[in-house]
């Protein structure tokens, strides 16, 4: 029997597959395709204290094996989440993790404070890596002193599992990983999107109203794998791999690189059933290779000479 569970530093997941923030709404939208309780966790869309309209349209551009988005954290705010969404998604038999965002540390604390009373939420994902907002977001995640401060303050305010989501737009991702670990993060998730632009040559104008956007999808997988590998060697806390995962092979590569769990983002747009197929694919792989749990081959790729 394959034991698909994962112990993410105390946070028990029924399997290593989660949805990535901003790519599955509140999870409810997926019910048209499968039972969200089948997944290890649902990470709900980036939430801010106040409702936000996000950036202007166009917000998306297709690129080679990837896409840029400049959604900019459109959401109805933590108040709406508390009143409307939370009661609804509490019924899921899986972990629901809220991705939190803000312009200021106070914003992060405001939202954290409100989440404390929501028992169902066993974990938050502290997003210090959104490239699509003018204030906050990536500014925290690419500046070490700010990163340290926001993690420290949220850590004080949040008694349960704290996952910190790292930006790939840095010289040294391990520096930020270590800061998060030092400040008491329970796990790390990476990567958020790479900052990019797309241009319409005929019209000589940017394809996104916001000019820049975040690059996601298979195009970024090699960079994501590299960062997950570097970070999982640099810290003791578990790492959640994200970036270009569309198949169970992709997911397995992240586990082999050192990730304890993974998130599916853009892959959901290609195939809304991808997350459940990936759970199944990982299970099949374990069977085929004689593993009873993913932990048995996590980070194993350096054991073998290429």
């Amino acid at each position: 029997m394959i034991d698909m569970t994962v112990d993410l530093n105390g946070l028990k997941l029924k399997n290593p597959v989660m949805t990535a923030s901003g790519t599955s709404g509140y999870g409810t939208e997926l019910e048209d395709f499968f039972d969200p309780s089948l997944l290890g966790a649902l990470i709900v869309k980036g939430t801010t204290p106040e409702p936000r309209e996000g950036n202007r349209y166009p917000r998306m551009a297709e690129t080679a094996s990837g896409m840029l988005n400049s959604v900019g954290l459109q959401n109805k705010g933590i108040g709406h989440f508390k009143e409307v969404i939370y009661p609804d998604i509490s019924r899921y038999d899986t972990e629901v993790i809220v991705n939190i965002n803000g312009n200021t540390i106070d914003d992060y604390l405001n939202i954290t404070g409100q989440l404390v009373s929501m028992d169902k939420i066993r974990a938050i994902e502290l997003n210090i890596s959104c490239p699509n907002v003018k204030m906050g977001g990536m500014a925290f995640g690419t500046h070490s002193a700010s990163a340290r401060e926001v993690i420290r303050e949220v850590r004080k305010a949040w008694p349960r599992h704290l996952m910190v989501k790292l930006s790939p737009n840095v010289t040294s991702v391990t520096e930020f990983a270590s800061i998060a670990e030092e400040e008491g993060a329970d796990s790390l998730s990476l990567i958020n999107t790479l900052l990019g632009i797309a241009i319409d040559a005929e019209k000589r104008r940017p394809k996104l109203a916001n000019i820049t956007g975040g690059l996601s999808g298979p195009a970024i997988k090699p960079v994501a794998l590299r960062m997950v590998w570097q970070v999982s060697k640099a810290v003791e806390i578990p790492v959640v791999g994200i970036g270009g995962i569309v198949s169970s092979d992709d997911a397995l590569e992240f586990i082999i690189a050192g990730a304890s769990a993974i998130q599916v983002g853009t892959g959901i747009f290609l195939d809304p059933e991808a997350p459940v197929k990936i759970v199944k694919g990982i299970e099949d792989y374990c069977k085929r290779h004689g593993f009873s749990n993913t932990e048995e081959f996590r980070g194993s790729f350096e054991d073998v000479a290429p």
Binding site: G54, R56, Y57, R59, E62, N69, Q74, P272
Partner: protein, 263 residues
């Protein structure tokens, strides 16, 4: 409403005008059917340029045979690849997606206005309107006659008015020059086409006292409401074209948005 992810088989595919392909897909096992205005997200494999799915409207649907028609304008790699696929091959599709046009009430006077790339959803809408006992008027505009699809399916359903920019078929000019938009009286106007055309139509004299619904073709990443890329700016804030739309009441739209639709 449930959504389906299925491989649909291409039953027939034929050129329907220059840069226009009419594709008949077989939907197979039963499902609740389509509402007029709804669309599918079709996966076009085989190129790194067509990474995401492509949205296409229900052009026609026969629930008894399970045959679905889409009318594809060839504008880029995805549509070109799809149009070139031979019968027998299959495409993966998510459906049915989006809201739908509001059906007119008995006895109402109805105009369906389509321009160029925007005519696809109007045939199925017209058919449903006829099934509701109303005979609609169609006003369709094209650059010239060579880019027009076959018009019989429309004229079989209602009165068909054609406008071409060069006058090669019907009246010469833009749809908005047509007298029915100036002097006609309607209870409902349904419109789909380039941004500028839709804007002009909903502001035409004939539209003043009519309820106007437009169908947008915003860029989409997911098509089922999870990515928030496809928003339309409305008086009720940013709404998703793929779930709150693609059909909007024209009065709700802000229209200030760049590139709001297929034009």
């Amino acid at each position: 409403m449930g959504k389906y992810v299925r491989d649909l088989t291409i039953k027939e595919s034929r050129k329907a005008g220059s840069d226009l392909q009419l594709i008949t897909l077989f939907t197979g096992q039963p499902f609740p059917g389509f509402l007029p205005g709804q669309f599918l997200q079709i996966r076009v494999d085989g190129s790194s340029d067509t990474f995401l799915r492509r949205p296409f409207s229900v052009h026609d649907y026969d629930s008894s045979s399970g045959e679905l028609k889409i009318l594809v304008h060839i504008v880029g790699n995805g549509s070109r690849t799809l149009a070139a696929m031979p019968p027998g091959e299959s495409v993966n599709a998510i459906f049915p997606l989006g809201n739908s046009f509001t059906m007119p009430e008995k006895g109402q006077k109805v105009l369906l206005v389509g321009g160029g790339c925007g005519i696809a959803p109007l045939l199925y809408l017209g058919r449903k309107i006829v099934e509701n006992g109303i005979k609609p008027q169609f006003l369709l505009g094209f650059r010239n006659s060579s880019v027009m699809p076959e018009t019989r399916p429309y004229s079989e359903l209602g009165e068909l008015l054609i406008v071409t920019e060069d006058g090669s078929e019907g009246e010469a000019g833009f749809v908005t020059d047509h007298h029915v938009l100036k002097e006609g009286e309607y209870d409902r106007i349904y419109c789909c086409g380039p941004d500028e055309m839709m804007k002009a139509v909903v502001n035409a004299p004939a539209a003043l006292n009519a309820g106007c619904e437009v169908s947008l073709e915003n860029l989409m990443a997911c098509g089922f409401g999870v990515c928030l890329c496809c928003i339309a700016e409305t008086v009720r804030g940013n709404l998703c074209t793929c779930t709150d739309g693609p059909v909007f009441n024209s009065a709700d739209l802000k229209w200030g948005q760049p590139g709001i639709s297929c034009g």
